[in-house]
Every structure is written in structure tokens, then in C-alpha cells.
């Protein structure tokens, strides 16, 4: 997914080959991750797509089924992966993810600790931000979930950047081997305040912490715990509003008392005049409005910085 290996980065000359992970795009709200395998087919409502037809095509190509239906084949990115991954837990989405990465000041080379791993949605973006030389250590106490996440990171080619550990961070804290080594710690736990003292020990000087909690009561307790070792404690909520864009045909009408002046208007009288005195002028313009439904709440993001005791 990431261009750790520069020969695999997207380019005019990089073609889809056997074994590549592609994102099959039907519509913006209907995508699927598929690993290209020469003898396989993809079947969906548009028909049957042979993988062998895909090999040798450029990423971003439109490919057709036996029935003439089509999909697009895209190169995977962490954003697309977030839209197609299998939900084993509630996941973080792009607005929270982007804000977390920027606010934790994660840059290439950083060491980041995360718990829980969940479905690994955030982990892929953390991996992108620390690449090529940093590392993400992510922990989950659920054995099957940790295993599935490990398989996913392998599949999307991130295993050199992300290590999944099976551990109850709330109960046991982070492993001692990371004391004083983490540039940033991210917590998505039901009782984050239990893990905060351990997180403080893991952080480097001036290191940053973020705790994601859906409920304000969790935030309240986390902030109380943070007071003892952290500074710059700030809580945010970040949401996205999306817009729909349409070309709308409108008609404007005018009393035709003064016909001569209308000649200068660029609009043709496509509909003609349907009354003796009224002429309608079809018009079209591109309009935007917010979509009617949106995610109203994901969680609160509490950030803090390890206090400097020089």
C-alpha cells in the first residue's frame, strides 16, 4: 500500500500484476479490496470480471465484465483501506485519523504505541506517517482480533512498519521495553485512565498522547488522570460535512413587455413562449448543498503533552 519499495509506487508505467491488492470501485460508497489472482473472477451485480483481464492494465483503469458492466481498479491507500476493511470493531474514520496524526506530531521516524488495535483502521495511517524508518507497535487484548489485524497488515504490505502485540494495556500497561522510547501514544480503550500512567512512562520528553473516547464521562476521568503528568490537555470533536453537487436546470420567466431587450440574453427560447406575454428562459447552474445525513458523533479526542520537568 505504501511506497516502501519505490519500484512498486504508482506511476504511468506501473501495471497491475498477479498478487497485487486492488481496490475495486463500483461507486463512492461501494468498494472492495481484491487480491489479483490469475485464475480468479470477481462476481457482482454488474457481472463476472476475470482477474486475468486486469493484469497488465494500469491502476485507475476501467474494466468490463462479461455483461459489459464496469468497475475501476484503484491502487490502495490508507483512506481507501478504511472504507473497505472488515469491521471487527467500531473504527476511526478519516477526519479523526487525520487530526490524530497531525496533532500527535507524527513524522517519519517516530515510534508510536497504539491500543487497542481494533480493526486496524488508524494503524495504517500511523504506519504511513512513520514510514520508512519509524515503527507502530499496536496492542489488543483480543487474540483473534490481534491475529486478524496481523493478517491484514501482511496483506497490505505494512508488516515491516506495524507490529501487533496481544496484551491487555488497561490491565498490564505497555511493555517495559518501550519506556522512554515512544514519540506518541494513542489510546482507544473503554477505561483509558487506567492506561495513562503507563503511557506517561513510555513517552519521550515532550511526547504526545491522544485518547479517543465516545463518551464524555470517559473524557472527564481521563482528563483528571492526565493532570498529574501532562500539560497542554485539550479535547476536540472533529466531524465532516459532505456536499452534493448538481447541475440544476432552472427557468426564469419575465413579462415580455419589452421584447427587444431580451435579444441580448444568451439563453435560447428552447421552450418557446407558452403565453402571449411571458417568455421562459431555461438556465442551468451548478449548485452545492450539504448532504442530508452525516455522522453526527464519532468520539472525543483528548490530546496532552508529557510535562517537561527540566
Amino acid at each position: 500500500m505504501l511506497t516502501i519499495d519505490t519500484t512498486r509506487k504508482i506511476s504511468f508505467n506501473r501495471l497491475i500484476s498477479n498478487g497485487d491488492l486492488v481496490i475495486v470501485y463500483e461507486r463512492h460508497d461501494n468498494m472492495k479490496a481484491v487480491t489479483v489472482s490469475e485464475g480468479s473472477v470477481l462476481q457482482n451485480r454488474f457481472g463476472v470480471f476475470k482477474h486475468s483481464d486486469w493484469i497488465g492494465k494500469s491502476f485507475g483503469s476501467k474494466v468490463f465484465s462479461n455483461k459489459g458492466g464496469f468497475v475501476y481498479l484503484l491502487a490502495p491507500t490508507p483512506e481507501l483501506w478504511t472504507l473497505v476493511l472488515s469491521h471487527r470493531t467500531q473504527i476511526l474514520y478519516i477526519a479523526d485519523i487525520s487530526f490524530v496524526v497531525m496533532y500527535l506530531e507524527i513524522v517519519p521516524g517516530c515510534v508510536v504505541l497504539e491500543s487497542g488495535t481494533g480493526s486496524g483502521s488508524l494503524s495504517t495511517s500511523l504506519a504511513r506517517a512513520v514510514a520508512p524508518k519509524g515503527h507502530v507497535y499496536t496492542f489488543d487484548f483480543h487474540e483473534q482480533r490481534a491475529g486478524s489485524a496481523r493478517d491484514d497488515f501482511e496483506r497490505i504490505g505494512l508488516s515491516s512498519l506495524v507490529t501487533v502485540g496481544l496484551r491487555d494495556i488497561q490491565g498490564e500497561g505497555f511493555p517495559e521495553e518501550f519506556v522512554g522510547l515512544a514519540d506518541a501514544v494513542f489510546l482507544d480503550l473503554p477505561q483509558p485512565w487506567l492506561a495513562i500512567p503507563s503511557a506517561a512512562k513510555m513517552l519521550r520528553h515532550d511526547g504526545t498522547l491522544c485518547s479517543f473516547s465516545p463518551c464524555i464521562e470517559q473524557v472527564q476521568r481521563s482528563c483528571e488522570t492526565l493532570q498529574s503528568n501532562f500539560t497542554d490537555i485539550r479535547t476536540f470533536e472533529v466531524l465532516l460535512r459532505t456536499y452534493e453537487v448538481r447541475e440544476v436546470k432552472t427557468e426564469s420567466s419575465e413579462i415580455n413587455g419589452n421584447g427587444g431587450s431580451n435579444v441580448s440574453l444568451p439563453c435560447k427560447r428552447r421552450h418557446g413562449s407558452d403565453g402571449a406575454n411571458v417568455v421562459s428562459y431555461p438556465n442551468s447552474s451548478v449548485m452545492a448543498r450539504p448532504c442530508g445525513e452525516a455522522r453526527g458523533h464519532t468520539g472525543y479526542l483528548t490530546f496532552a503533552r508529557l510535562q517537561c520537568l527540566s
Partner: protein, 455 residues
Amino acid sequence: MSSTENINKSSSRITWEGCSVLLDINDGDRLVFARLSPAAKLKIGNKNCSLQPLIGCPFGTVFQLDTSDSDGPFLSPFQPKGDVNNTDEIKDGHFQAESKDDQPNSESKDNRSLIDNNTAQSLTGEDIEDMRRQGAKGNEIIEALIANSATFDKKTSFSQEKYRLKKQKKYAPRVLIRRPVARSICEAYFKKYPLKIGFLRVDTLSLLLSMANVSSNSDILVVDMVGGLLTGAVAERLGGTGFVCNSYLGQTPHSMDIVRIFNLSDEICKRIVRSSISDLLSPKESRPQNPKQDVGSVESQSIDQMSVSVSMEEASHSPENGISDIGAENTTFPALKAYKATKAGEKASQEILDSWKENGFSSLIIAAPDLDTWTVVRDLLPLLSNSAPFAIYHQYLQPLATCMHNLQLEKMAIGLQITEPWLREYQVLPSRTHPHMQMSAFGGYILSGTKICSS
């Protein structure tokens, strides 16, 4: 300075001579970008103090202005835990958590007996000046003010803290050294000088970087008319790999002075190059016969560090500013020249240009409020590899709507979406948790999508 040394320094958590810092004075009342040198001076109120003590300190250290020394005011490290008088300090304008049994409701005091007749304080300005001349520390003056306030004891504990904070800001101002990174630089500009960065809010900037899949080893094409903030933020994420190509329409590159505020290593600076859009669009074979006069690197054409900091200062003169009323404030960097940041933004070599024409860019980010969005996108999109993502920022919705519509009609991209981020900060305190009373109501719009193969 060797380049290995430089790389280590750019990720360093300790300041060094010549490093760029963000000075956060009195909890964000003033924000000053400065370059540390023994000769650099910071004016706080009417006091000029050297920035020398800040060199070699960990980022995150708080300094307090000490006026008690006869040699003049100086900045000394402040220990948040050690000072008895200030243990209950206020962070970010919030009161620290109090013990559970000290809930606001249990407080019996209220403000019914407070009368605003300006007689509560019995110390005069002259008395305070006398104390200062005798070497009283800022904290001692604050204690004296409290002791001589007829109404202090009648205040609730919250307003007592507010009073203390107000006096602390005036008589013992504090300076926090922050690391200048994309987050802090964007926040500082958004707060004090948003026009310069096209009102690009930090959450919007973070979305642009995600949506354009900015990752190491990528070649990112940008049109940055937000002072170099976007270019710097992209370069920071590339970490010395790949390239960020800052492109411009016409002959004159856009200003990139914000790039120099980041402590980018030589390795990272080398990865920031410039090219005119016409050079990018010219066919690969045709080498320009008479290379245009390249206006060149940041330092030759842009405003220097000092004026950047001065413009921030101008913007910080707000009524809330605790000390601006004392006198004009300024920061001077006499030794600036000796610590000039490495050149960023060299002209892209023909070799690199050719490789981009051969392979395509990995993604595109545009933050160009003054250019026609659709025509720029129409021209630049073909330079991207197929399946490359792009993100376009604008303060206004209509140019993005038109651009999105045209991209759909021309079948140039899929996954098109216009989004507007919404960011709300909360005050979290025992029994007093609520959203901030003031918030930024607008952080800009983003059009994002993925380029597809032209059929």
C-alpha cells in the same frame, strides 16, 4: 554543521543555537516565531530580554521573566511543581482539577457584594515601581497585590485564580518553548494571522495531507499560495524522501517563507523544489532554450524571519493581550544571517522534471485561492499517475463545486467529494464540561478524488 548532525537536530527535542522556535507567551496571548542565538532579544512588555537562556533547553520548558536582578530582566526556567505560590496554576485558560469535595456548588461565596468602584486595590503604581527597584520578584509583587486587595478574600476560588493569573501575566510573564511543526505553525498563524495561510485550519490541513496520501517516497505536486505552510507540512511528512514540487503559474514562484520556520534538516530541504507550471506542462523532449530567470530559492526573494515574526506580532495586538498595553513589542534577530536555514525550493532539475513526465506525480494538493480552480486542475491532473489521489482546498464552495462538476463531465476522476471539516474544542473540568464559548466556525472546503485513466 554536517548534514548528519543536522538530521539529528531536526528531530531533536532540545533547542540549539540557530534553531527556530515558537515562543508561546502567557498561554497563547502572544505567539512569536524566533531563531535562537546569543544575541537574539525578545521584548516582553517594556523589557528586553536575551533568548540566550533558551539555547540547549528541552522543548516544552517554561521560562518566567525575572526582573529582580540589577543586571536587567532575564528569562529563568520556571518549575511548575516547585513554586508554592503557583502550584494551582491555570493551563490553557483552564483551572486545574480541584479536589472532589470542592465542587463549585459547594462554594458559599458569590459576587453579590463586589462593587466595581476601582478602590479595591490600595497599592499604587508607584508602590509597585518601588518594590521593583528594590529587586522584588514578580511573584512577590503578585502576593503584595493580593494582600492589598480589599476584595480578594470575597472572591470565589475561581475568580481568585483568575485574578492571580491576570496579575501573573502582567508581573511575571511566562514563555513556553514550542517545537515549530506543521501543527503548531498552522495553529499559530490561524490564530494570529489567518489571511497569510488562506484561513487554512489545522484539521483541514491534516485532511489535505491524508486525502493526498502524503507518504515517504512520494512525489507530491503542490500549488501553495498559503505562504509555504502546505509545502512545509508535506516536506515534514516526506521526511527527506520523495519530492514536493511547489509549482506556480507564470514567472514568479509563490512565497514560501513559512517553510523556514520548520526546523527542516538539509536532507528534507533538498526535497523541496520549485517549477513553473508551464515547465511541467511542456513536452519532455523540448528543453527550454533560454531558461527563464528563476526567481529562485526562498531566501533570495522572500521576507526574512524577522519580518515574519513582526507580522505575527502586529496581529497579536488584541485587547485581551495582557501586556501589549505596556508598550510596543518587538523581537530582533541581529545574528540572523549566521543561522540561515538551508535553502529549500531550488528549481527542479531537468532530470527530475523528465522523471515526473515519465512516471507522473503520486498526488496533487492545491491551496490557491487566487487561481481559477477548474483550469488549474484541468491542466495539472494529467501530470498525475493514474489512480493518484488529489485534494484541493478553497475558502469558497462554488469554485470547488464547478470543478467537481467539470471533472465528472470530463470523466477525469472518481470518488469525488466536497467536504467541510468542523472542529469543536471542549473545556473539560469537574462539573463544568462544555464546548468552548468561542469557536472557529469555518475551516475551508476540500474537493478530493482519484484520477482515473483517460479512456
